[in-house]
Symmetry: C2
Subunit: 347 residues, 2 copies
């Protein structure tokens, strides 16, 4: 079996994240000082695709840790309607692997014209997007060849977490952050076990993907991987939103992927798992809770000792592996999903 | 055939919205004066289910018309994590049919404790949620008996549009708003035509629902109706986000519902329709553009003379009818979808 770019990029995440941590550990402190000096408490966040999902993590992270309010941008107000909001009270934060998306450049151009504070998280510091921003936070992730983002997604999460800690953090937080690459290494060991379970989903067409709080982002990102790679109609949702309607689709055998690491959301996820069992749904679980793993037909155990705020970095990995292996049993090409390009140009 | 509550509530929308308009046309001017006096330009919006989708309309509406930045709240930061953001620079806006949801009350309680300006859009002015807010905007929609929200959703949209116009609007805007009930009446005439087409989706299990700009909200709301009522795994997305990955799921015969009224988003939707045709997808279209309707296997024509900013009120109706009739041919109960209650209690 020849290795795909996707396989190599999934496997490279511990090293990629360790490099990012080492290279930006000091610069991010300076960046945080500059941001704190602006006195801003609102972040206006703009991104697409996987980077937009990373932004969802930022929404909870900057909310819970820094008490910021994060608004996700609506690019069409800039590009199609020509009615951008007043950005001067906000830190405009763009997240992009390539830094080439026209709509993001449009938003950043407007931020510049308004004199707003702006930051770009990007893999390419010389990209058009990066050149428009006041500050740039480089991801150092190396070229990503597979169309489906994996290492750049987790690198974006780590960059956001580093910034959050640099803004308001303790030595303990930095120590926890430093452990992330090792945790990813440990999690990647489940690769063969996930491969063995993937054939069960050869003929699945749909899936619900549920995560809450910090892992709301994970639900969106893993649903996107399952769509892009395995052509599964996978729909993300929080456990709360799911109960407000979408749960009606769940009948016998309907597959539901639960992202349920230990933490504040676990009790709620456990209750949902019970409801799903009553409906005789098929449960896939990314968890370090023995009870939830026991309830799952497809358990994906993650390291036990995992701080909740960093769990999205770890929980992404089993889902990447699942999407990769399900894609394989469904004969979907791993590096070039149908109809997608690496840089998507939208306005 | 006995009529369901759902049928009656869908049919009642012109009258419900006319009543809301007449009763609140004057009070909303006073409300707008009070809000303008706060000088706030950020809205912190909290809602669940269909009301959350109405909030998405608000995000574009207040953005495009009033140049406000709208943040959608993350209730778990209040309820599970106990880390609410600083709300004093924001107008906290809760939208709820019942006004009984515990998580929304939690957020509103916190807004009150912080002394933030707050407004509740609600069908019940004596509800726990309404009693916590500084201002209340009543929906006057009458009791909604069907679990799936229809008339309260469009009433919420109208209330938001009235507030936006009261904040920054012209006599022409008010005149356009006044026409909404008549436009809904006209749109409801397609009921039999939609019923005739519904059997085609007897065995559809999945659907993508695409709308952009003002109708991003419509995509989310109609996907929710299709899930709740017809148990279809319907996933909403903007045309831009769709191209950043999810489009990979679309193969031959994959059904895609396009919400494509005339306006700034039409060119983009037309281009997407062309791409979908190349993939031999099944196209369902809610549109007043002859070109898009011709490309659709299931065309749902809406009134020609429709201002884009109000099109979400009209475009919701064909989707409600579609969900209702597809539910019927799939033998799903119309008023009590499996596993749902009218008031969902989540924290």
């Amino acid at each position: 079996m020849t290795m795909s770019h996707l396989d190599r990029e999934i496997a490279s995440q511990p090293k990629t994240l360790a490099r990012l941590f080492d290279k930006e550990r000091k610069p991010v402190e300076k960046l945080a000082v500059a941001i704190r000096q602006t006195g801003l408490k609102h972040i206006f966040l703009v991104a697409r695709g996987s980077s937009d999902n990373a932004g969802l993590y930022g929404k909870y992270l900057f909310g819970a840790r820094n008490r910021f309010i994060v608004s996700l941008a609506t690019p069409s107000l800039f590009t199609l309607y020509g009615r951008p909001p007043d950005l001067r009270d906000s830190l405009v934060l763009a997240i992009s692997q390539s830094g080439e998306s026209d709509d993001l450049c449009h938003v950043m151009q407007e931020a510049k014209a308004q004199g707003a504070a702006s930051l770009v998280l990007c893999n390419y510091t010389k990209s058009p997007l990066a050149s428009l921003a006041r500050w740039v936070f480089p991801l150092h992730a190396g070229v990503e060849r597979s169309v489906a983002a994996t290492k750049t997604y987790t690198a974006e999460l780590l960059a956001l977490a580093m910034l959050s800690v640099a803004l308001d953090g303790t030595a303990k937080d930095w120590k926890e952050l430093r452990r992330v690459p090792a945790l990813l290494d440990e999690t990647l060991e489940m690769n063969q076990a996930v491969a063995a379970q993937a054939s069960r989903y050869r003929y699945a067409d749909r899936m619900a993907v549920i995560g809450r709080g910090f892992n709301y982002a994970t639900a969106f990102e893993l649903a996107l991987k399952l769509k892009e790679l395995a052509y599964l109609a996978a729909e993300p949702s929080s456990s709360a939103d799911f109960r407000h309607g979408p749960i009606a689709v769940v009948g016998e055998g309907f597959p539901v992927l639960l992202i349920a690491p230990k933490g504040k959301t676990l009790a709620d996820m456990r209750e949902l798992a019970g409801e799903l069992r009553k409906r005789r749904a098929e449960i896939l679980a990314i968890s370090n809770d023995a009870g939830i793993l026991r309830m799952a037909q497809c358990p994906m155990p993650i390291p036990a000792d995992l701080p909740e705020w960093l769990s999205p970095l770890v929980c992404a990995v089993p889902g990447q592996l699942l999407a990769r292996h399900v894609a394989n049993v469904r004969d979907c090409p791993l590096d070039k999903p149908r109809g997608l390009r690496k840089v998507t140009r939208t306005l």
